[in-house]
C-alpha cells in the first residue's frame, strides 16, 4: 500500500493525465457531481457519487457503429471502428465497480461486443472507498463492501491523506508511474476507516434489505404476484431509472441519414418504453405494468438465473434519488420479496 497527502492529489492527477485521458468526479455549477476530463483547475468532488453512472465510459449513451454509402442500388459498408485511446476513470465507488462485472457478462459473452471490449481493454478503473454512505445506499444487500472497492487500483481517502492499493497488472503499471509522488505505508489508517464504515453501514435505513425471495428460478412464483398492479400504478414510463442505472444495458440500433451517407448508431433504450417491444403484429408487453415488471424481474430473477446468481443491481441508489414518483427497486423488493417489513 502507498499513500500521499491529500494536498498533493493535483500532482497525482497531473501525472496520470500525462499518459492517458483522466476522468474524475467534479462538481458542475449546479452542484451535481459528474465525471469530468481532468485538466489543471478541475477539482475533485466531495460528493458521494456522480449523478450518472460510469457505464458511459464503456457503453456510451450513443455511439456510431458503422457507416454506409449508397449509390443507386449499391451499398458500401464502412467499418468506422477506430483505435480506442487509453483512459483512466478515478473515483469509482464500490457499487459502480461491481456494475462493470454485470455489464461484462453481457457484452463480453460470445459473440463479444467489440466496441465495449475495446473500451474495457483500454480503461483503467481507480475505485474509491466510501466514507459517508447515504440513506439511499444499499450495496450491502448485494454483498458489496463500500469500504473495500475493487478495480485496478483501490483508493481510500482520509481527512489528510490518500491511500492506494493496486489489484491488477494494469493497476500496478499505473502505480509505478506514481512512485515518486507516493510513499510506502502500513494499512493501519485504512483498516481503521474500514471498521468505521462497517459500523455506519449497519445503521443505514436500508441495512436490513435482503434479496430473500429473489434469484434464478423464481419466475413462476413472482411473475403473477398481484402486487405488480399496485407497484406499477403510478409509473410514468419515463425511463429515468434505466438511464441512471449502472447495470441497465438494453440498447437500440438506429440509422441516421446524414445526406452524404447513413450512420448506424447504437443508443441506450429502456424496457420501460412502449416502443421497446412493439412489432408489426402487436406488442408483447402492452401495459406499463408489464414493462415495469420486466425491468425488476430481469434484475432480480432473469439475470441471476443466467449469471450464477449474480443480481443485476448494485444498490447505488440512483433510481431512489431520481424517480419522479418515488417508485424504485427497494419498494419492489420490500413488497414482493421475503423481507416485506
Amino acid at each position: 500500500m502507498r499513500k500521499c497527502s491529500l494536498d498533493s492529489m493535483n500532482s497525482v492527477f497531473a501525472e496520470i493525465a500525462k499518459a492517458a485521458t483522466l476522468y474524475i468526479p467534479a462538481d458542475r455549477t449546479d452542484g451535481a457531481a459528474v465525471y469530468t476530463k481532468w485538466e489543471e483547475g478541475v477539482v475533485w468532488s466531495n460528493a458521494l457519487n456522480t449523478v450518472r453512472s460510469p457505464k458511459d465510459f464503456f457503453f456510451p449513451q450513443m455511439e456510431n457503429l458503422m457507416e454506409f454509402k449508397t449509390q443507386g442500388k449499391n451499398i458500401e459498408i464502412i467499418d468506422t471502428r477506430s483505435e480506442t485511446e487509453d483512459f483512466v476513470v478515478f473515483g469509482v465507488r464500490a457499487c459502480d465497480v461491481k456494475s462493470f462485472e454485470i455489464l461484462d457478462r453481457v457484452f463480453l459473452s460470445e459473440p463479444v461486443d467489440s466496441y465495449y471490449a475495446a473500451r474495457r481493454a483500454h480503461g483503467v478503473i481507480i475505485s474509491l472507498a466510501c466514507t459517508r454512505p447515504s440513506e439511499t445506499c444499499f450495496c450491502g444487500t448485494f454483498g458489496i463492501n463500500p469500504a473495500e472497492p475493487a478495480g485496478d487500483i483501490s483508493v481510500w481517502k482520509t481527512e489528510t491523506e490518500v491511500f492506494f492499493r493496486s489489484n491488477t497488472e494494469k493497476g500496478a503499471a499505473l502505480m509505478q508511474k506514481l512512485e515518486a509522488l507516493t510513499e510506502e505505508c502500513t494499512e493501519e489508517a485504512v483498516d481503521a476507516q474500514k471498521e468505521k464504515i462497517s459500523a455506519v453501514m449497519k445503521k443505514l435505513p436500508l441495512a436490513d434489505l435482503t434479496t430473500e425471495g429473489f434469484g434464478g428460478g423464481k419466475t413462476k412464483e413472482l411473475f403473477d404476484n398481484p402486487a405488480w398492479d399496485e407497484l406499477s400504478q403510478t409509473c410514468l414510463g419515463c425511463g429515468t431509472c434505466t438511464f441512471v442505472c449502472p447495470t441497465c444495458q438494453c440498447y437500440d440500433i438506429k440509422d441516421f441519414n446524414t445526406g452524404k451517407g447513413v450512420i448506424r448508431y447504437r443508443c441506450w433504450d429502456s424496457c420501460m418504453y412502449s416502443e421497446f417491444t412493439r412489432m408489426a403484429h402487436g406488442n408483447n408487453r402492452n401495459s406499463q405494468k408489464e414493462r415495469f415488471r420486466q425491468r425488476f424481474m430481469h434484475k432480480l430473477v432473469y439475470y441471476p438465473e443466467n449469471n450464477d446468481g449474480l443480481f443485476s443491481c448494485v444498490g447505488c441508489g440512483r433510481c431512489l434519488a431520481k424517480c419522479p414518483i418515488s417508485m424504485n427497486i427497494v419498494k419492489v423488493m420490500k413488497k414482493i420479496g421475503g423481507n416485506n417489513k
Binding site: 461486443d113 475495446a118 424496457c271
Partner: protein, 277 residues
C-alpha cells in the same frame, strides 16, 4: 483494429430474384456481391436484413441449408423495412448478417420420426426450410404430413412448390385449407386448428407449428386434445429484435432471449416462460 470480428457489422447482399407469392408476400433470393451464399445456416435459423437508412429486421431463412447457391426470404409487407423491400427490384443491394438462433433439431430429435408440419399464413416461411431439408434427406425421416392454411387461395405461400413438388413426393401428404369458401377452390375450407382436429392425426408424430399466435394457441390445444404431449411439439417464436445475440434486451422473455435461446422452442419449454411472447 478492424480485423476484430463484430457480429453487428453486416455483409452486403444482392437481391437476385423477387417472386410475388401472394398479394402481400414476396420471396427474395439473396447472395453476396460475389454470387455466393452469405453464410451457412441450419433449418429454422434467422438472418438480419437491412436497408441503410430504413432499418434492420430479423427474418427467418425460408430456403433449405441444402440449397448451396442462395438464400431465400419470404417476407410479408407489414412495416417500414418490409414495405421498402417490397418495392425493391432485382439487383438491389441490402445488408445481411447471421445466422442467428437455434435451429430445429432435424439431425437428432427429428431423425426417424414421422413429422407433422402445421403452418398458417406467412408462418410457412420458417417451416419451408425444415420441410425441404427433410425432403432432401427423405430416408432419414418417416411419413411427412403438412397442414397449411391461409385466408384465401391467393394467400397460400409457395403454392406452386407445394402442388408440384411436395404433394408429389412419396410419403408426403399435403393438407391445404383456406378460411372461407372461394370460387375455384375445391379443397378444404376452415381454420387450421379445426382442420387438424378433423384430420385426427395419430400421436406417433413430432409436430412442428408456426403461424399467428392465435393459431398456435388453438392448434396446440387441438394437438393436446388428440393425445399429443407438449414434448412432441415444436414451434418458432417471433419478437422484436435488434442485436440478434442476446444483448440488446428486446426479445427477453423470462430468462430466455428469443434470438439466442430460440426462436425454436419445444412447447413444454414455453410453459416455463411467462406468457409474454
Amino acid at each position: 483494429m478492424n480485423n476484430r470480428t463484430e457480429t453487428l457489422i453486416p455483409k452486403v447482399g444482392v437481391i437476385t430474384d423477387v417472386r410475388i407469392d401472394t398479394p402481400d408476400i414476396k420471396t427474395f433470393r439473396v447472395v453476396t456481391t460475389d454470387g455466393k451464399k452469405a453464410f451457412d445456416h441450419r433449418p429454422g435459423q434467422c438472418a438480419m436484413l437491412s436497408i441503410p437508412g430504413v432499418g434492420e429486421a430479423m427474418f427467418s431463412i425460408t430456403s433449405s441449408p441444402t440449397n448451396e447457391e442462395f438464400m431465400e426470404f419470404s417476407i410479408k409487407k407489414c412495416g417500414c423495412v418490409t414495405e421498402w423491400l417490397h418495392q425493391a427490384e432485382v439487383g438491389q443491394q441490402i445488408t445481411i448478417r447471421g445466422p442467428y438462433g437455434n435451429p430445429f433439431p432435424v439431425d437428432d430429435v427429428f431423425a426417424g420420426k414421422n413429422l407433422l408440419f402445421i403452418a398458417g399464413g406467412v408462418g410457412l416461411a420458417p417451416l419451408r426450410s425444415v420441410i425441404n431439408y427433410c425432403r432432401h434427406y427423405r430416408d432419414r425421416y418417416g411419413d411427412i404430413d403438412i397442414v397449411y392454411g391461409s385466408r384465401s387461395k391467393d394467400d397460400l405461400l409457395d403454392y406452386k412448390e407445394i402442388i408440384d413438388e411436395w404433394a408429389t413426393d412419396a410419403g408426403v401428404n399435403v393438407h391445404l385449407t383456406i378460411d372461407n369458401p372461394q370460387e375455384g377452390w375445391d379443397g378444404h375450407v376452415g381454420f387450421v386448428p379445426n382442420y387438424v382436429k378433423e384430420l385426427g392425426f395419430d400421436t406417433n408424430k413430432t409436430a412442428i407449428l408456426c403461424g399467428p399466435p392465435i393459431m398456435i394457441k388453438f392448434t396446440l390445444e387441438g394437438l393436446c386434445g388428440l393425445g399429443f404431449d407438449k414434448t412432441q411439439i415444436y414451434t418458432t417464436l417471433e419478437l422484436r429484435m435488434k442485436c440478434g445475440v442476446g444483448k440488446c434486451g428486446r426479445c427477453n422473455v423470462g430468462a430466455k432471449y428469443v434470438c439466442k435461446d430460440g426462436p425454436v422452442f419445444r412447447c413444454d419449454e414455453l410453459d416455463e416462460l411467462p406468457s409474454e411472447y
